[in-house]
Structures are given as structure tokens and as C-alpha cells.
């Protein structure tokens, strides 16, 4: 009986969801022309960004990116909230094996290279594939390597949360700056420069650098919390 009610409720909800989403974007003249030509044209002529995906993700659909960053932030916060009481002090953990000297030396060599790759990926987000999310995740894997190799490698949670809040606040502030300059949320208001230069694309590189820092801090904090869980 209970299952039947659940199935019925789901069916009704699904029906109304499909019913309302079927018409999405089909009303009006948008369906004939589409927005893809508009995006491609504006990316080249106005924003002068080499990577079209970046211009869509950060500029035209920048609000969606803000939503994604918020989802990641909430997930990290929830995990930290659940595991907060069970965390260890650094150096007395029992979660992992002690690692061998070869692993330690190798991770020490690899760590700067990985972080440099991540920074490269998010700084060049508007020129080459990649961007804030990808670069941030690569940096977090570098920190993961160090955390796995060294028992006493510690990351300050205060610094992480400071970086994260700073990046998040400035993301929103840049969005409002676009509104203040007379446009919409996250509209470009800086000079765009020439195409294929590092300093081009207006606010896109700045926003992607902020997103990169935010994602790196969030994921590093998440891994740190999981690794330092008490066994008991």
C-alpha cells in the first residue's frame, strides 16, 4: 500500500514535470533560430575568447556556474558537518598505512608539477580546454598525493575556508559589477583585448581563476576531512 502511494505520487510528479518541461524553449521564435549562432558570433566578435565553451560557461551561462559552485560548496559543508566530531589530530591517524620512502620522494617531486599543471589549466581556461573546475580538481589531486604520502602533512582549515569565502564573494561581486556597469549579472565590463592573448576575454579569466581557487580549496578540505577520520 505504501509503495503504491509512493509510485502514484512519483508518477503524478513525473507527469507534471514532463508536461512543463516539454514546452521549454519551444514557445516563440527561439526554436527556429536557436541560440548557438548567437553564442558563436558573440564569442568571436565581442568577447574575443578562443574557447567557446568557456565563454558560454562563464559569461553567457555564468549564473549556472555560480549554481554549480554552490552545489559543490554545500556538499563539502555537509561532509564536514557529518565528520566534524570524528576527526583526528594530525600525526596520530590510523586510517592509512605508513608509506615507503620511495613513495615519499616521488610525491615530493610530483607535487609542484601537479599544482603547476592545475594553475596552468585554470589560467589558460579561455584559450585551451579546461578551466576552473578542472584546474581546481587537479590541484586537489596534488594535495591528495601529499596527504597519502606524508603522515604529518597538514593543511590549515582556516586558510582553506578563507580562500574559499574570498573566491566565492568575489565571484558574486564580479557578477554584480556587471549589473552595476549597466548590463546583466556577470556581463563583461572590462576591455577584451586581442584574441588568443593571455590577457584577453575581459572578466572570464578572472572569474575562472576565482572558481579554480574555490574548487581547489573545497576539494582539498573534503579529502583532508575524510582522511583524518577517527577509526574507533
Amino acid at each position: 500500500m505504501k509503495k503504491l502511494i509512493v509510485i502514484l505520487l512519483l508518477a503524478v510528479t513525473g507527469y507534471f514535470l514532463v508536461d512543463s518541461f516539454m514546452d521549454l524553449g519551444r514557445t516563440g521564435p527561439v526554436v527556429e533560430t536557436g541560440v548557438k549562432d548567437f553564442y558563436l558570433d558573440k564569442t568571436v566578435s565581442e568577447l574575443k575568447v578562443a574557447n567557446t565553451i568557456t565563454s558560454i560557461v562563464v559569461n553567457f551561462r555564468g549564473f549556472d556556474t555560480l549554481g554549480e559552485v554552490t552545489v559543490l560548496f554545500l556538499a563539502a559543508t555537509a561532509l564536514g558537518g557529518i565528520l566534524y566530531k570524528r576527526r583526528h589530530h594530525v600525526g596520530e591517524r590510523s586510517v592509512l598505512f605508513p608509506s615507503s620512502p620511495i613513495v615519499r620522494a616521488g610525491s615530493k617531486l610530483l607535487f609542484p608539477a601537479i599544482v603547476l599543471l592545475g594553475v596552468y589549466v585554470f589560467i589558460h581556461g579561455h584559450l585551451s580546454p579546461g578551466g576552473g573546475f578542472q584546474g581546481g580538481t587537479i590541484i586537489a589531486t596534488g594535495f591528495l598525493l601529499m596527504l597519502l604520502a606524508y603522515d604529518n602533512f597538514s593543511v590549515s582549515h582556516n586558510v582553506l575556508s578563507f580562500i574559499e569565502s574570498f573566491a566565492g564573494i568575489f565571484f558574486v561581486l564580479f557578477g554584480f559589477a556587471g549589473m552595476w556597469a549597466g548590463g546583466t549579472f556577470l556581463e563583461n565590463f572590462l576591455p577584451v583585448g586581442t584574441m588568443n592573448n593571455l590577457f584577453s576575454g575581459g572578466i572570464i579569466p578572472i572569474v575562472y581563476i576565482l572558481v579554480g581557487f574555490k574548487v581547489a580549496a573545497e576539494l582539498t578540505g573534503l579529502i583532508y576531512t575524510v582522511l583524518h577520520e577517527k577509526e574507533s
Binding site: V95, V121, P129, G130, Q134, T137, A140, I223, V226, E231
Partner: protein
């Protein structure tokens, strides 16, 4: 040739997924899911989506696999190690 390569990768992915379900040793199952992500990121690269391929390689292959491995170290490694709910509870605690 390209189509054959793509289909070969897809078949490998399905094989790894079935292995991950059938395998009782959870560590091997987790590594099989990591292999799925690796092949998926190669597929994304072949299908002209390098942005998504980078994300998939970093998150799917590295982060998710490591978090699952840490979870296995904190709980149990073999699927048969717990028979009912109470066993599972004591293992998780």
C-alpha cells in the same frame, strides 16, 4: 576505423561495469569503476569534448576512486563479510 575504436572502448566499459558488479572483493570493484571513468574520459577526448575529458579524468579516476578506497579501509573489504544489518552497522561504526 574511428567507429571501431569507439565501439571497442564502449565494450571495454561495459565489461568493466559488469566486473564491478559481479566482483565480491570491493577493492577490485572500485578499481574497475576507476577503469570505467578512465575509458570514459578517453571517449570524451575522441568525441571532441576535451573539457569534459579533463574533468572526468581528474574527478572520476583520481578523487572518487581514492575516496572509495579510503571508505573500504575504514569498513570492510569483502562483500560477504557482513550478512545482515547489524553486522553492517558494527562494521561501519
Amino acid at each position: 576505423m574511428f567507429i571501431i575504436l569507439v565501439f571497442f572502448l564502449i565494450i571495454l566499459m561495459v565489461g568493466a561495469a559488469i566486473y564491478a558488479i559481479v566482483q565480491k572483493d570491493l577493492l577490485y570493484a572500485v578499481i574497475a569503476t576507476g577503469v570505467i571513468s578512465l575509458i570514459l574520459s578517453a571517449l570524451f577526448l575522441l568525441l571532441q569534448a576535451p573539457d569534459v575529458a579533463l574533468t572526468e579524468a581528474a574527478i572520476g579516476v583520481a578523487l572518487t576512486t581514492i575516496i572509495f578506497i579510503i571508505t573500504i579501509r575504514n569498513t570492510v573489504r569483502h562483500e560477504d563479510d557482513f550478512k545482515d544489518r547489524d553486522d553492517l552497522k558494527s562494521a561501519v561504526k
